[in-house]
Symmetry: C2
Subunit: 203 residues, 2 copies
């Protein structure tokens, strides 16, 4: 199926996704989106009425996709260590495919925190980490991880995976001075982060 065969609405949506992710809500221009989609501004408004509605459609799709990437990993029937390795491998691989998503989502949410609330209703993080805790209670208990520190642990894990992408501009600049390629660094990170966390919580 060629670009031209796609439904116009779909083409607009994809163009809008590209431009919004690249420039952010404030920096994006309707003309730019129209050009990317190969149509004119009027047609954007015909399909999505306002810039705000178009942005919301794009944002909900992206944030939903991002959030859904977290949960399933923890449902696998694996040991705690294997889950951690699996998470970093899978999640970083996803971010390698979508390196701009973290910065985009983080920024848009900080500019408008209300956006996240609707989305969070659908994802149940409490039960996610409550389940994780219950399943590995004995292992975790041995190493002083309690249910109360689960949020700290989960957010630490996510930090290690997401932050390098959100801070890519800075990290790339620093690594460049030492002759390390960002992509290499990320590839290494899948293992480094997993072993780092495993050592931190199981020894």
């Amino acid at each position: 199926m060629s670009e031209n065969d796609k439904l116009t609405e779909e083409r607009i949506f994809e163009a809008a996704t590209d431009v919004f992710v690249d420039k952010g809500m404030d920096g994006a221009r309707m003309q730019d989106i129209a050009s990317h989609a190969g149509i004119n501004k009027a047609l954007l408004h015909y399909y999505f009425r306002t810039k705000d509605q178009l942005f919301n459609a794009v944002f909900e799709m992206i944030a939903g996709r991002m959030l859904k990437k977290f949960a399933p990993v923890f449902d696998e029937n694996l040991s705690l260590e294997a889950k951690i390795r699996f998470f970093f491998k899978e999640h970083i691989a996803f971010l390698q495919e979508n390196p701009k998503l973290p910065g985009f989502i983080l920024n848009e949410i900080s500019r408008n925190p209300a956006r996240i609330k609707k989305l969070l209703k659908k994802v149940h993080f409490e039960s996610l980490w409550k389940n994780l805790y219950e399943q590995h209670k004995t292992e975790l208990g041995k190493y002083n991880i309690t249910e109360a520190t689960m949020p700290q642990l989960i957010i630490s894990i996510v930090s290690l995976s997401v932050f390098p992408f959100a801070a890519r501009g800075i990290i790339e600049g620093i690594l460049e001075k030492v002759g390390i390629d960002f992509d290499e660094f990320i590839e290494e990170r899948k293992n480094f982060a997993a072993e780092f966390v495993i050592k931190a919580i199981t020894r």
Copy 2:
């Protein structure tokens, strides 16, 4: 010294800092900055010519302040463990005072990676972590941290400190559902993150 006694240029600069950090370069409005400073738009242009120049002045000041917060900690004459504890205590305390800086800097750099290069020239990260490695070679060597993995380690440490602030909107939303206050969470984090890293690299 009252607000009115301050030099106009300084008042403009402070107002611009507030507005830019809050809204970002694209979202900030010259009129908004003028109002915050208690003057009119024309005077902004008189002092800083263009929005771009005003933004650059603000950005360099902020990013410089942020970067400088990293290095000195590692110069202290302390054991490796003590340095790590000291870093998280000091750095998170700084971010508690300036919670919006991470999101602002991360976003503006990703929109314009060239901005960082000028700044990075002044800070020598390689020598920073090379020194750190040399000083604690024996301790680190015992636990499989080599000079080659120092970047992974340093960036992991920074992630654990900075990410919760950059992702505040999301984290606050999640913690809210479990009845945890963000400020409490951050206060706890000074210790949690330090012990987490220490366990990861010394056992």
